[in-house]
Amino acid sequence: MTGLSLPLIDNIWRVRGEVPIDPAMSAAEAFARIDPLLRTPGTALSDDGGVLTYTKRNPQAQDKLATFTRGRMWIEQAGAGAVMRFDLFSHALLLCFLTPLLFLAFAQMAIAINEWEAAGAEASEKAEKKDEMKPPAVKKLNPVDEFLGAPAPEDPSKKKKDKKKDEGRHSPDEGYVLAGIFAAIYLVGRWLEPFLVRRRLRAALAGPPPAT
């Protein structure tokens, strides 16, 4: 699809594969059978010398091929039988692959802001000291709650020094965890989506010929 040849890296966003077809089936009939899969809103189709090409613009949520925004399909003879080969391109997989980087960046941003604010806080620490007024009063539970046995609130004056203040205002942890989660989502998608495409193509090709 592009002039560039990226043999390994492009496996991130490209999915190539094949499904067996009945060797007696003509290319036209095979394409006719998978036509309902492709004839969805926002999809442009063209048959170019035995190669079926499609592009999707913002496919609907329930579009069976929504993950793969561009693709080509053609028939090849393989030994005694025949296969339909496909070569699909996915914006979604590529973006999902890059998403962990975004959340790692947010984590780094949290650390950078914390450091920057800590530097500013040291300068104004002396000014803050007079803020320490009378300790807040201990709150009591309503008698109803005491009777029902809810734990009493903590005495705020016994509380240790606010830990959060030392660690800074923002935590990078969410960013790290989410980067991991998106890496996992990518791996699941890279396996699941090609699996579903193969299954759907096989079912469409094995199904009854479409009524014309």
């Binding site: 913002n58 496919p59 609907q60 949520a61 329930q62 929504a66 993950t67 979604a92 999902c96 998403t99 959340f103 947010f106 984590a107 941003m109 949290a110 802001i113 709150k139 009591k140 539970l141 309503n142 109803v144 709650d145 029902l148 046995g149 809810a150 734990p151 609130p153 903590e154 205002r169 923002h170 969410e174 960013g175 989410l178 989660i181 998106f182 989502i185 699941v188 998608g189 699941l192 989506e193």
Partner: protein
């Protein structure tokens, strides 16, 4: 389409909406499935309340709430898989990844921004300006009463903010991307433009001094009630529940492609606010979205309010000062003045 008259309005004239509890779908399956999907919601609500009521102080902290929330989301995703409400709402890998992106954005970048300009900052400023000690008697109320008050005050604010979003064009532009979702799933509540998520998060419950445990209890009510507004699960919701609380039935009507139907069921947790203010429509809908169900991708969601706002104000200026002939025509507005 004929539609159904509800009060003074015709609901379901543009797109199919089922009106009335007697007409909505029911859980299909054996007695165990019927039992589980009838009592799941109330049991989980009472379990969450009991947990936060009795949990010792070291356990009753925000990080526990976050861990529970994660496990809870996974549970609800499993329910969606077991007993979907509509096949046409089923989660795909791409939808799941997209929804997760919005949730993640809210947990990282938006939270950082919010800590500087969010309601916490405003509440602090206002608390600093008045002597709020006069409200100390609030903390002496029974915990559950405090929790219900917090939850209802917060939802009251959300109700009016949400209703304003459907009635004033600049606010609508921020909220519109959320209405482009074409199906409801557990994480869909996070889908939308960040400006909207910021506005809807402005709470007015924080002005009073409540006990921390009361806040956790209020959070538990929200987590086990309003979480169901975007979920693809078929429940036999008890009638007392759907009289008091918002449900996916109510919220699917709100997300319908039918224009009048979207102007109903504004509350997040307490549908009784809608009943009081005359905007409640009991029913359900399957066909959701805007512009005939066009899906809005992440990029467009991020720029939509700014792009449309720029276009509309340009058109307005052209109309106002350009002698009427210059510039484009103004877009027809979707929200007439009430």
């Amino acid at each position: 389409m004929a539609g159904v008259q509800v009060g003074k309005r015709i609901i379901g004239a543009d797109a199919p909406v089922t009106v009335g509890w007697e007409n909505i779908g029911k859980v299909e399956g054996g007695p165990i499935k019927q039992f589980v999907f009838t009592y799941f919601q109330p049991v989980m609500l009472f379990a969450a309340i009991a947990f936060w009521y009795y949990a010792p102080n070291w356990l009753a902290v925000a990080s526990t709430a976050i861990a529970i929330r994660l496990g809870w989301t996974i549970t609800l995703l499993v329910l969606e898989w077991i007993n979907p409400r509509y096949e046409s709402w089923q989660l795909t890998w791409k939808e799941f990844a997209t929804d997760a992106f919005y949730v993640a954005l809210g947990m990282t970048f938006l939270r950082m921004v919010d800590s500087y300009i969010g309601d916490g900052v405003m509440v602090e400023a206002i608390q600093g300006a008045f002597d709020w000690d006069k409200f100390n008697w609030f903390t002496g109320l029974p915990l559950l009463v405090q929790a219900v008050i917090i939850s209802m005050i917060f939802d009251f604010g959300q109700y009016w903010m949400h209703r304003a979003m459907h009635n004033w064009h600049p606010l609508w532009l921020t909220h519109a991307p959320h209405h482009y979702i074409t199906q409801l799933n557990v994480q869909k509540g996070a889908v939308g433009n960040p400006v909207e998520l910021f506005l809807i998060g402005l709470g007015i419950g924080g002005f009073f001094d409540f006990l921390p445990r009361a806040f956790l209890l209020a959070g538990a009510i929200g987590m086990t009630v309003s979480v169901y507004q975007h979920i693809n699960v078929r429940f036999n919701t008890p009638s007392w529940w759907r009289f008091i609380f918002n449900t996916v039935e109510h919220h699917s009507v709100h997300h319908s492609q039918d224009y009048e139907a979207t102007r109903s069921n504004y509350s997040g947790t307490w549908i009784i606010w809608d009943r009081m203010f005359g905007t409640c429509v009991d029913g359900e809908a399957e066909v959701l979205g805007m512009e005939g169900g066009r899906r809005m991708d992440i990029g467009e969601t991020m720029i939509f309010p700014f792009r449309e706002g720029w276009r509309d104000s340009k058109a307005w200026f052209a109309k106002r000062f350009g002698g009427g002939s210059g510039g484009g025509t103004m877009q027809p507005q979707l929200e007439p003045a009430e």
